[in-house]
Amino acid sequence: MEPRTYDPQSPDLAGGTAVLSGRGLVKRYGAQYALAGIDIDIRRGDAVAIVGPSGSGKTSLLHVLAGILRADDGEIFLAGQRIDQLNEKKRSELRRTEFGFVFQSGMLVAELTAEENVALPMLLGGASRKEAVAAGRQWLARLGLAGKETRRPGELSGGEAQRVAIARALTHRPKVIFADEPTGALDTRTGRDTMDALLGAAAESGAAVIVVTHDRELAESMPRTVSIRDGLIATRLAA
């Protein structure tokens, strides 16, 4: 296996400032290494872009950090607590309560209205209908979607649907938001507006944001960028 490389911008885990940390993360698909031993730290309120060519391992890193995939080796800490050894049930609960997700094409539930889509994570967490729908409406208003609460995803533009997805990711006040190519299906301007909305709303709620993208321009607009190549963090990093 290749020698492990480190994110030079990474804060000291022992220093306690990282909300999410990965140490020596390895993920294999057969004989192929998607992650070859990555260390990474995400601070509270951080906004990190993970960039790299197709097949470099950036989506695998996102999925391993979020607990969607299990790493073959390495450790993951959430606010200092090790989470990579949790069983599927606990990891699901963690994803539901501590993390938020924004996917490329929103992946909203087609049958639900915008406000129901946004309210869904809270409902799944046990909130009442009234409470969850009210929170959903509030988040939609904050993201400029007032008046479109009862629209279905099919009745929204791509940018609007992504903002609904952002609202859904934020509504239960997660610690970390994972976004996988959130502007991949949008034109440049709408993509920029959507990212502004995501970063603004995340900053407002104090959540860290990890964005996987192959869009250099978008990555450069982020405060911090981690470059991945062949399952390793590249030694030269964007500022």
């Binding site: 963690l94 994803r95 539901r96 938020g100 539930v109 639900l112 409902l123 009745e155 996988d180």
Partner: protein, 752 residues
């Protein structure tokens, strides 16, 4: 690359398309196998009837020049029916054509028996069976002479002089075309609908597994410039592969299915495997028709791709369902009601109208079901409290046709089941009737000239067999009571009170009263007279002697109606016995001596029919048992098929929304919450639709029963069974969503 090559490539590369093709093939195979079986049922009954036709006498035969005398009767042993044919040649046996399976015309004193009857004859004491026939058991009848392999048949040879008195002259044994069993033909027709529709729903559900993906692929091909004809060819090739293989598999499966069917008794026995053979042209037509129907359905499903390829690729908004769909049910109900009224009043085309009404009712479910599903969804959208309720409600509201499709098979099965279970207890309640003798009393009908001789010979045989039972000769006379300008006629058994206690079900009490007339009707005996036998009811009667007392009977048995008892001492002295007077020779029997008594009585009566109410009830139960058996088999098969299609539909609905569910699972939604939502989604329309189908099925059952009997319907708690079974099957089928979701959980964000 032509359409077939493209279809083969898709099948090789895409696992889900392969699964869908296999399920489609299975659905078509099951449907083809079932159609081939059900359509063969009338042919099977015809084959049976033709084999056993020689055991019957046709009226037309009586008018021809006679070559033989023939008498047929039913006998029984251990509750099983023996068909007995007594024959004698009029002028030598040489010119008499023998039925297939009959090796030889029996000489006087010879009896040919079926193999099963032969076994019984040899396994029982002679007094219980063998003595009923002529002494020489000549050999066994072949299977071609039997209605079913285990049929009990005796062909008894006589001289013309010792033939039973009811023997008729005939030019030959009956042969030629036989009629099919009407009831089984009707049941086969119902079976085609009840079993083939769920099979086709299974095919439709299987096709849905790849519908979304195929629609995208076809839309892409259309956008790339393919003509509708080219796209049609591609779809036809894809579907034809599985449909043709399925139909051929159904054809191959068919003999096994027929073999299984031979074990299901109907009308007293099982079947020969060859009974179920269908004419080859019909078989080819059916085997070709199944894939053609499936192909047509697949090609018709392309309308949207042709109309709006971009819309199909990008998804579409479904139009809300119109309220007028609801009208389908009352309209169909009105037609059915009209058909029932017509049938009850004996209208000419009532049979066709009735079937048309039934077809409309079944068809109306396809219009009403989705609307009701949508309405239930709407209700849930309004009142939901948990995410499962919200997800299920919205899904039902959004795609009511798709949601209903999953339960369509179950709905049909519940409809048919409720209808059958409404009819069944009511038909069972109609069983009974028969004469007023106790169930275990055996009797033969005779006339005044022969009755005493039969009684004497019976008693002699019983003495020989060491049985203490003795026969009683019971006269049956007519009692006429003048009423206004006319009169009423009543049939009366002539016996004393003690004999009535011993032989009948009349509740005559302790027989302390003065001998007279026992009746459940209040009669004015002052205006009563007695006739020995009446042909028209207007024959002058002999007045009763004054002072004959009337004892009113309390109704101990609802079946004892229309009969009275006259004590012999109360008969008028001048009553002349008519040679046509009906006389019965009756012997009480027990479980231990029944067959011996039957042998003695039957032997003495020279092959005349020995009756008993026990056998009448047994026959009725046997017919109802046939009906119950095929109903249960049909419903279970329909439930299994409907369950399979509902399970495939549920799996398809998970696959259709794989990316959405994957995203929800990735975001931490527990599989059990999604599974609960999917179960609610499947169970809600199934619950509403099965209750609806159950209610309609019961109403239709009541309507159909009114054609048979105007008595009230008999309800049983079992009537709820189809609804419970339907909801259970739907829930069980919906439970496949958990493994399907677990597969999604393994790779939640993987591409399809």
């Amino acid at each position: 690359m032509n359409a077939l090559q493209l279809a083969l490539r898709v099948l090789r590369r895409d696992r889900r398309t392969r699964t869908s093709a296999i399920l489609t093939g299975m659905g078509v195979a099951i449907a083809t196998g079932l159609v081939l079986l059900l359509i063969s049922l009338p042919f099977a009954t015809k084959a049976r009837a033709e084999r056993s036709q020689w055991q019957e006498i046709t009226y037309s035969a009586r008018e021809q020049s006679a070559k033989l005398l023939i008498s047929t009767s039913e006998d029984f042993v251990d509750g099983k029916k023996i068909t007995r044919i007594d024959v004698a040649p009029v002028a030598g046996a040489a010119g008499i054509a023998l039925p297939a399976g009959v090796p030889k015309f029996p000489a006087p004193g010879e009896t040919w028996v079926s193999p099963e009857l032969g076994k019984l004859v040899h396994s029982k004491p002679e007094s219980q069976l063998a003595d009923r026939f002529t002494p020489n058991l000549a050999g066994a009848l072949g299977s071609d002479a039997l209605k079913f392999p285990e049929q009990l048949v005796a062909l008894v040879g006589h001289t013309p002089e010792d033939m039973p008195s009811d023997a008729l002259p005939a030019p030959a044994f009956t042969h030629g075309d036989a009629r099919v069993d009407g009831l089984l033909q009707l049941l086969a027709g119902v079976g085609v609908v009840v079993l083939v529709v769920p099979s086709l729903v299974l095919v439709a559900s299987a096709a849905r597994l790849t519908a979304a993906r195929r629609e995208r692929r076809l839309a892409a091909i259309r956008l790339a410039g393919a003509t509708p004809g080219q796209v049609t060819n591609m779809v036809a090739a894809e579907t034809a592969l599985s449909a043709i293989v399925g139909a051929l598999a159904g054809l191959v499966l068919s003999p096994a299915l027929h073999r299984l069917a031979t074990f299901v008794p109907w009308d007293g026995g099982t079947w020969q495997a060859s009974d179920f053979s269908l004419p080859i042209p019909l078989t080819i037509t059916l085997v070709v028709a199944m894939p053609v129907l499936v192909l047509l359905a697949a090609v018709l499903g392309l309308r949207r791709v042709f109309a709006t390829p971009l819309g199909a690729a990008a998804g579409h908004t479904k139009k809300p369902l119109h309220w007028w769909r609801l009208l389908a049910l009352p309209v169909a109900g009105a037609v059915f009601l009209f058909a029932i009224v017509q049938a009850n009043t004996g209208g000419d085309s009532s049979g066709f109208l009735l079937l048309f009404g039934l077809a409309l009712l079944v068809g109306s479910a396809a219009l009403v079901g989705p609307w009701v599903t949508s309405a239930v969804g709407g209700l849930f959208v309004k009142v939901w409290r948990k995410p499962a309720g919200l997800l299920a409600g919205r899904r039902l509201r959004d795609d009511p046709k798709g949601a209903y499709r999953a339960s369509a098979g179950v709905v049909l099965a519940v409809f048919a089941g409720s209808m059958a279970l409404t009819l069944m207890p009511s038909l069972e309640s109609m069983a009974g009737g028969g004469r007023a003798f106790q169930d275990s009393v055996l009797y033969v009908e005779s006339d005044p000239a022969n009755a005493a001789k039969i009684a004497q010979q019976t008693d002699a045989a019983l003495t020989k067999y060491g049985e203490p039972a003795r026969s009683t000769v019971v006269r049956q006379v007519g009692l006429r009571v003048a009423e206004g300008s006319g009169h009423s006629n009543y049939s009366a058994l002539v016996m004393d009170c003690a004999t009535a206690v011993r032989l009948t079900r009349f509740n005559v009490g302790t027989c302390d009263a003065k001998p007279g007339i026992y009746s459940s009707y209040s009669l004015d005996l002052g205006k009563a007279s007695v006739v020995s036998y009446y042909k028209t009811g207007d024959e002058p009667g002999t007045p009763l002697a004054p002072g004959v007392p009337l004892h009113l009977l309390s109704k101990a048995d609802a079946d004892v109606v229309g009969s009275l008892l006259i004590d012999p001492s109360a008969l008028p002295a001048g009553l002349v016995t008519s040679p046509e007077e009906r006389v019965t020779v009756a012997v009480p029997s027990t479980d231990g001596n029944r067959e011996t008594v039957r042998t003695a009585l039957g032997g003495a009566a020279g092959g005349a029919q020995v009756y008993s109410r026990e056998l009448r009830l047994g026959n009725q139960q046997s017919e109802l048992g046939d009906l119950r058996r095929v109903t249960v088999i049909g419903l279970l098969a329909a439930a299994v098929l409907a369950g399979c299609s509902a399970a495939v539909a549920t799996a398809g609905s998970v696959m259709d929304r794989r990316r959405t569910f994957g995203a929800l699972i990735a975001a931490g939604t527990p599989v059990k919450v999604l599974a609960r939502a999917l179960r609610v989604e499947a169970a809600l329309p199934a619950l509403v639709a099965t209750i609806g189908a159950g209610v309609v099925g019961i109403l239709v059952g009541i309507g159909l029963f009114s054609l048979v009997d105007d008595q009230g319907i008999t309800m049983s708690p079992w009537i709820l069974a189809p609804v419970v079974l339907g909801v259970g099957v739907a829930l069980l089928a919906a439970s496949v969503c958990t493994p399907a979701l677990n597969r999604v959980r393994a790779e939640p964000l993987a591409e399809e």
